[in-house]
Symmetry: D2
Subunit: 368 residues, 4 copies
């Protein structure tokens, strides 16, 4: 790839460097930690741990219990990796005390962040409903869907042009042609467009067509991609990984925020569990947890959260009742012909019914 | 318990016998199954499988694909254990087609079952809210709570006298004294009482005091206990195990129903996942799934579902929005003194606020 | 069960009472804890928490970091429920420092506990292999299996007389008749018998026939049952729940040990995960973790751990390589006729091959 | 991306196009499926489903049971998305019958694939042990480690130059400088180098320095990356995602194989479960499952599988006993100074001991 030239802002090393510097600043007081010594730890082992902590410019607070000694690490000026201490003799475990995210934290930024999307602001009192097909499949399909979801009350159009599929033999999306059709649908309906980028190199192309770049669940920890969309400055819809913790979701948001881009909408979309009657398990708890922990807007995707169209509307109502700022819903005019995710797509008339029901819930929780 | 004599109908062998007979009748057409042969299966291996199926009085339907042969098993008169076939030469796997529950199935019993509880019917249009402390701790505590939750709108009082605790050193409940206090609280407030039985031998005693016998999450597959409460005829609140599928919950309900007791209320209370910010993950999907699959009423426990009082109200609203028939909520006048589950208990004033908010959601979904 | 009379020591309240007393003694120094205050906690909130800690006779160690205050709780004389503090104003979370088990802990009891089983000692240098069918089905079946597994090298015979089945329509075991057949097989072969008790009331009957009482995975947290087998004094094979943590397994062992019964063999048998190609996921990590944390012997059940006979031998070898003290294996002379678990049962000749391979591994790790 | 020029073989659209064509060929007979109709399905609903199946050039096999009709789909010439049928009226569910992978399947390619690595062949009778630090941190560190692991018996050196970290503030790796140091260590010791590429654009650079390109767990479903390493023709070490099924791992291998690159080594490295005493749960079952299902070599990473150095050796022994073709182990001369994964890194002397113990197990299973 010797002929390969990245624009400087997309370079693979630049973000790392910048992140490192940012890290040094951002993480300044971020890593208070408790070191629990084993019951049999000797005085020398304790002294060695203390010495190592202090050698890093940190202060200790020693608490000698009847059974064991606990060493608090305070006043740190850089991130400390607790695992380094876990290999020292006499150490049983380390317990981090502070949350590892800062820019995404409501503690650091108490006011809600409102992300502008066309005329409205996601995260405000008004519920934002994004809808459209899983994949863009044809001009006819995307235009028909766009008009239908707009009429039903959606404020943005979703549709995938690049599709991450577990099988290399499945439909992989229409690529740039799909992006062009999305742009045409925006032209025709006025709806802003949400679509996924799957790799850093796709970002500039997707950014040319999309209003919001979606980071899919499988890419939630694709850090090269997170850095690139962070640098792009474009609004990002960040979906939770299907087996990622809420904390990891916020850490991935932190990657984007650390690039100076705070236009991030978080999306709960169901996690993988042992339950077999649904495709995923919608983590409804994540809504109040995220609203408490972060200032970023939070929406829910009941289509992936359940995987079956029959359950989508009930879970959409639940999301708004729990405090979500919006929804992203898969709608297809003919789900039985959909090239992907047919089973979880709503027909336009069902979607219109969903919007009506969701709006009643919105009013019941004092939103519109 | 030397003086304790179980009525003959509570014997350990009777239910087994009756279950077997019942099974023969109930399961008559219950086990259609697909047997998938390996690509390399020989004609003899296929013939052997067919012969074995037919030797059990079942019919086969053979489908020869280009790559492999698939054998459908039809018209069965008894439950067939697919795993028996999986050890035969040439068999790749078996796929059950029919759901394994019958009495609990909405297909067999389309109309909603309404479970009477004092004046009201759980499963009807009216939302049922059950509330009270995790454990009965004192006369003062349970009476104070009972009056408070009644005033706020609860229709039944919960409180544990026998507590399943993961540590043998934790408070194990007040035992029969706790049951007496619950009865006194019912006397004083008119609220029916919901309390847990942890073993078959406790059932007669608990049934003497309680209106509803709760089967806790850890006992969802305690089959001796399920049979005993089935035989007791008393209303049962069956909580989903924290590691159980929805199908397993319905199979456990089936145990109770198979004893002739159809007064069963199902309760989603959160499942165990990898997420660490909450104690459990509330499976909100389970609400529409259960309402579709079974005629039994379904309630949700957001106290255990989240494990933190800050999130209880949001998830309670979500439950009703998703179609739950009611809620069970932990309320304690002084959570900081609670002998168990303090972190997830609401103070009475917070509970009253929850009821108000939930009722607004109920109206938004056409309930009261 | 009309003629069934439990000895007074099997009553439902006695164990609770005794447990409470035991708890007060055993847990004396057991609950050091860290209370993490929120960043915004006020001086009054901190003082309130300190006052409450001290009002319980505990000491505090206050550590004021740059961002937040952390309160260590020391010198406790009883178990403290951290969740009580989590509802106080200004508290973010509590972190337990000490492990909650004591009697099961290797820290408290460094030497390996050897559990006598017939002539040998489980937990010693010699590998203990227990084998037999899932269920006792007939005299012919159990005797044939008993002779076969003895000849192959098993040191005990397993077989279920009472079977926990997720369906009420599945075979529930032969009951007492099955116990009699197991005793006959012991008589004929000299192999001690391992069989399951599913409820407290079954324990005296099972104890009359069995050398080792098995507590099944579904009953790992059936505390009434744990107390009863603890009191029985009989050797207990305690299987890990399919979604229980290692810590919970040790807490369940603690229930048995707290009744004065230290003849406890722990059994890893696979946990429930999202993986679909196997019935469960064998947690091989649990072997070295348990050997480090507890003095009790640890065996592994690769039949349930995998759910498919093709994988049983490979995982049996792995268990011994990882340090397990033994194995429990399902063997059936005709798996295709087994009334339960046919798919994961080995034929006797495959079992003999397994023993040969496992013994080679045993020698490679210095055991016999 | 206007200034961005990819060599034609690295284009974002080319792989998709080629994949589509390949898919049409490869998947020719790949998608037999069963469609289960609801009990209440009408004759018209059944006829509609049959018509739709046939309209796609597929044949049906109809099986009318007493309760419901089951439609087998046969002879397909392209992948059929079952979910399309699940939205049709009267359909309860669809069940795929054939495995979705072909090139990775042992059915299609019975003989073991041997992947050459320097002088040896991974997948042959000889156990392959790859070892080295999590991250390259300095010239001194990587050289010291390389010499130590070579002396102990490792056949390749691992070390990360680009590190996926959940925090943007953690050490992100040395980048190209790290690659240079790895190359220097290869020069000095003769050990081939295994190192990770995190994005498609890094692949050409990493390929310049590395003998084996590692795809990390977080990137197992980064399809752009999979296509790129597939096209590169370089040997790939593909780690299972911590949230991925075995089938998904094989589908990701299929992406690489579909690009014509069959030099793929699969690596089990632990999955995420609810267990808290270990960082991950090593899925030891995956070893015999993968050895049965695929012809590709399979190794295990006990460092990530356990997350704690104390457990690494026991699980390494287990892996070889279960049939793994090799191991990848984190070794660091001073784990307490490691910039990442210190807690799970072995000191060189412990690693040498591990190799000795593992080799004894290898002999016990007839390998060397």
């Amino acid at each position: 790839m010797s002929t390969f030239t990245l624009p400087s802002s997309f370079g693979p090393t630049a973000p790392a460097a910048r992140r490192t510097e940012a890290g040094l600043v951002l993480a300044q007081k971020a890593s208070a930690m408790i070191i629990v010594m084993r019951a049999q730890a000797t005085a020398k082992e304790i002294a060695d741990v203390v010495a190592r902590v202090e050698s890093r410019g940190l202060r200790v607070n020693i608490s000698r219990g009847e059974e064991r000694t606990i060493i608090g690490v305070i006043g740190d000026e850089r991130p400390v990796d607790g695992t380094q201490f876990e290999v020292m003799d006499g150490v049983e475990k380390t317990v981090p005390i502070l949350k590892p995210f800062k820019l995404a934290s409501r503690e650091m930024h108490p006011a809600d962040t409102l992300v502008p999307l066309d005329g409205m602001k996601v995260g405000s009192n008004k519920i934002a409903i994004i809808a459209g097909p899983c994949s863009v499949e044809s001009r006819q399909q995307i235009l028909e869907t766009a008009f239908a979801v707009k009429e039903a009350g959606a404020i943005a159009l979703r549709g995938g042009a690049y599709k991450p599929r577990s099988s290399p033999y499945s439909f992989q999306g229409m690529g740039e042609k799909g992006l062009e059709l999305l742009a045409e649908a925006r032209e025709a309906t006025g709806l802003p467009v949400v679509t996924e980028a799957m790799s850093p190199e796709q970002v500039p192309l997707v950014a040319r067509y999309a209003d919001v770049i979606q980071i899919g669940a499988r890419n939630m920890q694709n850090y090269a991609l997170l850095n690139t969309v962070g640098e792009s400055g474009r609004t990002v819809l960040l979906k939770r990984g299907l087996m990622s913790t809420i904390e990891e979701l916020l850490m991935s948001a932190e990657y984007i925020l650390a690039q100076g881009n705070s236009r991030v909408i978080l999306c709960e979309r169901g996690i993988r569990t042992f339950e077999k009657y649904t495709r995923n398990t919608t983590d409804i708890n994540a809504i109040p947890v995220l609203k408490q922990m972060t200032h970023l807007p939070v929406i829910l995707d009941p289509s992936h959260g359940t995987g079956k169209w029959e359950y989508v509307t009930a879970v959409a109502r639940a999301a708004i009742a729990a405090g979500a700022d919006g929804l992203i819903i898969e709608v297809h005019p003919h789900p039985e012909d959909a090239l992907s995710d047919g089973a979880q797509s709503l027909r336009p008339e069902k979607f219109a019914q969903l919007v009506t029901e969701v709006m009643r819930i919105a009013q019941a929780v004092g939103r519109s």
